[in-house]
Symmetry: C2
Subunit: 452 residues, 2 copies
């Protein structure tokens, strides 16, 4: 079996901590067994291994997530990066094609696809092992996991089992997406389960479907013609059209941590430099900034301070966050915001600490960059901006137009537009970068090869 | 008449906007008549002039407030700066001695002392004009303003008028400081008024009292021996011991804006880059940061985001802020905080945008400095730190060890420890300063003269 972890879109539902490059599954907020913090991505990866599943894991993700995946899961986990965001059907097809043609998996290999963000327990992963066996035994073309509902939710899709059969795997007769609560209640009485978005199938089966859109459906072909794949979910395009679908039930803890209200249940009450009191009951405070947060007397709330902004929300209101973040980002005082204020990269991380837009149309942007010992920023040049670097801690090797020199705390590098540059950290390295130019976009970059 | 404005201590009751150099009276939060924002200091200064009082105004303040006073009231207002914080009696004595010996006021000059922070109206200032006349007419040695109470408060001092007299000014018979609410009710029935801390007296009268402590009680003598003056309030040391005290009543709007709850009544609901919704009723949001603040569903609260920290408080709890700020500043994640994160200076302002403490005991601190066109930072040197300046906007003259050169956007100055330096803004000037050293204290500074 091969496991494909679907690393979904960025979303704003966990703003201000989630942003375009830091999707919610990378936020290190959950309690890890050793007392430290882990992300949803790290948790699901750990749980797969703890359940005794040794299958190789591939992450299907967007290009902007690549650095976060490497930094959180290590180099041994492979990623298949979508050239653009489409939907789950194209993403799963691309990952499957990669397994077939690049990884040379057998067409009979069983693929289990699971989302990266449910908060669940060991039994969930043991069910995946049973799903593999069901596919291998030929129980159905596609085997789904059915999550035992805990209430009549109108948020989920439901799998309705066929009549008669009393042993696993159950045939899946039909699907109902987001019913009303009344409908959901009736479905549950008939034995319907939530569709948790976990699928198992043989590689051969999916590639035949893919061939209807791109032929031959090999990896390089699909990558080049990715835009021709329909923007449609795997459920609609594959599951609901399939002739033979089975379902294996899972009756354990399973939660969607998609809002601050649900996430708050699984994280400590206070994280970071914060104090709360005077009756601030059932209130969670998460502070990623270095200045303190003080919360007094406000109950049933979530307070989140991050580099991108500050959220104060009543827990019940937290699901309605998105339009307000959109409004905040369209605020007249917000025009100068150019990009996410904090990003994790393969080589470390950076924080935007200052920015300005001046009356002559020139911008400045100041960052604090952290590069882990042994890592390096790629060799690159910018056409439209100068950069002034001041090393504040650590030692490194600075590469400027083909010349390498050692740098340490207090050294300054003046990198004019057009100058090729890179830096490698010998010890953990921190520097302040002041960018000045008429255009400070991230895409003003040309990359070059360099052998350190 | 001369007016002495008492510019009190810093305090933490309006944290995170107030700090050691930015006392609450300098926060530009109040609605000015022209629609802009003004500080308590600017408001009281404007109201004195609008009431037709042309008396020269002297501000009694601490040294750390000098730059804020000049930047908010202009160069024409004079300040008397205490060498150390003691209490209102020493501060008023020092200001009086300055008026007598430095400003050469007559010993018969009437001095009116008023606090800078009450939120009040024109009649208050007209009462001061009547107080001057009462002192000049010899009604009493000291004339106080009595504020007509609006409720039986246990927070204020009360002035109890003597019996019999039915015309102004009333004799003040005795004083009761912070009675219980029940006592306050009885006092109010007997005609007691709140003591608003507004005093008028002849210069001669106070200087005789001062002479008991320091003789001769001239300005330079008092300045040198300021530490010998008792740490006591003017009320206790002068008013309560005086033989002849009269009171003039004021029956208009008068409020102490000392907590976020009371201040919120006089400021807009949303200031800065912020959006509120989903039932965030009666909630005030003040954002001095550039990233957005989003508030959802939290009622009756005040949310304040500033460079020094973030406060989320139920309005009723806001008076209890101080111990929590103390706790936040003793938080284990707070040890690296070196100083206020935002300061206004005579020449402009600066913001600390990054700081770090490294394992070898070295610190770095990065600031964004703004210097107003025509202003200059004093010529100075530091012994224990290097500074690297990168100009991001504007033009200026940079002075390094006696040599001046023109600088503009993109220029970098490397100022090593021991190097004398200054900069003058030709146009509004902004630069990023990276400080690196084993000791980054503000007092590592030696100042020099320079004629630009």
């Amino acid at each position: 079996m091969r496991i494909v972890l679907l690393s979904g879109g960025s979303g704003k539902r966990l703003w201000p901590l989630s942003n375009d490059t830091r999707s919610k599954q990378f936020l290190k907020l959950l309690r890890a067994p050793d007392g430290s913090r882990e992300s949803m991505m790290q948790r699901v990866y750990r749980q797969i291994r703890e359940a005794g599943i040794s299958a190789e894991i591939t992450v299907a993700a967007s290009a902007s997530q690549r650095d976060s995946i490497v930094s959180q899961l290590g180099d041994s986990v492979k990623s298949v990066l979508e050239p653009e965001r489409r939907d789950t059907f194209p993403a799963i097809v691309l990952a499957s094609a990669w397994l077939l043609t690049e990884e040379r998996c057998s067409p009979d290999e069983v693929i289990a696809v699971l989302p990266v963000d449910p908060y669940t327990e060991r039994g969930y992963f043991e069910t995946i092992a049973r799903m593999e066996k069901a596919v291998r035994d030929g129980a159905a073309d596609i085997v789904l996991m059915g999550i035992a509902p805990t209430y009549a939710s109108s948020k989920y899709g439901y799998i309705i089992p066929g009549p008669g059969k009393t042993a696993e795997p159950y045939p899946a007769e039909r699907f109902v997406e987001k019913p009303t609560e009344a409908e959901a209640e009736k479905l549950i009485e008939r034995g319907a389960m939530w569709n948790g978005g976990v699928f198992a199938f043989k590689l051969r089966y999916l590639m035949e479907i893919a061939r209807r859109y791109v032929d031959p459906a090999d990896y390089s072909g699909l990558l080049a013609r990715y835009g021709e794949l329909p923007k449609i979910s795997f459920d609609y395009e594959v599951v609901e059209k399939a002739e033979s679908v089975a379902m294996l039930p899972f009756d354990g803890e399973w939660k969607d941590l998609g809002t601050w209200n649900t996430l708050a249940e699984e994280i400590p009450e206070v994280m970071g430099n914060a104090v709360a009191g005077e009756g601030a009951e059932n209130t969670h405070v998460i502070n990623e900034l270095r200045v303190p947060v003080v919360v007094l007397g406000v109950k049933d709330a979530v307070v989140v301070a991050g580099s991108d902004g500050i959220l104060v929300t009543d827990k019940r209101a937290s699901a309605k966050l998105k339009p307000f973040v959109d409004a905040a980002e369209n605020h007249p005082m917000y025009v100068e915001r150019l990009r996410p204020m904090y990003e994790e990269r393969r080589w470390g991380s950076f924080k935007v600490i200052d920015y300005g837009k001046y009356s002559d149309g020139v911008f400045s942007l100041t960052k604090h960059l952290f590069i882990e010992a042994g890592s390096a920023i790629s060799y690159q040049k910018h056409s439209l901006r100068d950069e002034i670097w001041t090393i504040v801690n650590g030692t490194g090797a600075l590469l400027l137009d083909g010349h390498v020199r050692n740098v340490r705390r207090g050294d300054v590098a003046y990198i004019t537009a057009g100058m090729k540059h890179a830096i490698r950290a010998v010890t953990d390295l921190r520097f302040i970068e002041v960018q000045i130019g008429e255009h400070l976009a991230e895409n003003d970059i040309e990359r070059f090869e360099w052998e350190w």
